[in-house]
Amino acid sequence: MLEVGNLACSRGDHRLFSGLCFTLQPGQLLQVQGANGSGKTSLLRTLCGFIQPDEGEILWHGKRVRDLGEDYYAELLYLGHLNAIKDELNALENLQMSAGLAGYTISEKQAVSVLRRMGLQRREHLPVRVLSQGQRRRVALARLLTSDAHLWILDEPLTALDVGAVGLMQELIGEHLSKGGMTIFTTHQPLQVAGVETRQLTLS
């Protein structure tokens, strides 16, 4: 369970938001909304611990995230604007490396099947630099399928994706929630997960 209490954050002298409170229970989906520059990405990065909040607390299962440190990171999967994939490596190597950085190993067979599901069959051994923008995003999103993290924090996961991939994302998030996971995301496109109510958090 993620609890956020009285959170305030500013970039430079500009106060982005203050007094922000919300709770996220297992199986819940939270969409962060707001105009450009309203602090959506800053909020997500604060939840990941990249940015120190000016005020307020972030609690994971009742303990402060700051004190939990690496134990919290083991439960967290963050997907930012940047894909975190290497142009020089192929999709398979990228997936195995990012799994390694997240603290676990996956076999080649498993990685291949995950990439298949992401619609990247016969692209596994191509260097990522020859793939299209949408395909690169799919390589990055393939991490969602290998991870067993409980909390997904997705910053604009649908950028550059086609209709089929957006459908796949809805499916993936649905599966994750049904297993008791939690998801926080931002998007400017509609994203509906069947059978789950999307909670809204609007920053202004």
């Binding site: 963050y78 994939i85 020089e88």
Partner: protein, 227 residues
């Protein structure tokens, strides 16, 4: 799905950086070729005065090694920073210091180690004696890791800044002066028939000291740069 141990993660980071360097060989060769060029220019510029060359050999090789290792420093974290991999590294459920140490070790294997291995060949141009050549290789093997480790702090602090490359050199070079003095001093000691023990022990001490503190400091510097 198997959990990765701390050593496993360290190995993965080293392997990953070496693999990336192999796919992008030009970066590695730049450092080495710069080193070879700078050292080779001195005999040409100074002329065939063998006594003078012999005297300045250790200093020239060491200064060139110092400058060559500065060349690759800005690239230590910048690629990972630009494509978002560094964010994921910060979220690794293991100590960031160990990850940083892995990157430092890979950086040394690609920039420091080749310099130490090719140094004897360059030393021949200065008519260095065999014991002096051995000492030179040994001091470089002990000293270049310190350059990579101190350099990592500079590279982490200047991440994402414009003109970061010059700033790294300004930050790191003064801190590397002790390594230069004792590294070149050891070779001079051998040529004048004195014991190298004190110089070598000091270089070893620098390395151990840096090994303990710099990964942690560099990791903190990275966290500051990411905000």
């Amino acid at each position: 799905m198997n959990k990765l141990s701390l050593m496993g993660l360290f190995g993965l980071v080293v392997r990953r950086d070496l693999l990336l360097a192999m796919r992008r060989r030009a970066d590695v060769l730049t450092t080495l070729i710069f080193f070879v060029m700078v050292v080779s220019l001195f005999p040409l510029g100074v002329g065939p005065e063998i006594d003078m060359l012999r005297k300045m050999a250790s200093g020239v090789v060491w200064v060139a090694a110092l400058l060559a290792s500065m060349l690759s420093l800005p690239r230590m974290f910048s690629a990972d920073y630009a494509d978002g991999t560094l964010e994921q590294m910060m979220l690794a459920p293991q100590s960031l210091s160990v990850l940083v140490l892995g990157k430092i070790v890979a950086h040394w294997m690609l920039s420091g180690l080749p310099l130490a291995l090719i140094a004897p060949v360059l030393g021949l141009q200065f008519d260095m004696s065999a014991p002096a050549l051995w000492t030179l290789v040994l001091t470089l093997l002990l000293g270049t890791p310190v350059l990579s480790m101190i350099g990592a702090i500079g590279a982490a602090l200047t991440l994402g800044l414009r003109g970061g490359g010059v700033l790294v050199s300004l930050l790191v070079l003064p801190l590397c002066i002790p390594v230069l003095i004792f590294g070149a001093g050891a070779v001079d000691a051998v040529t004048s028939g004195m014991s190298v023990a004190s110089n070598m022990s000091l270089l070893g001490a620098f390395m151990l000291f840096a090994l303990v503190f710099t990964p942690f400091v560099a990791a903190q510097a990275l966290r500051i740069s990411m905000e």
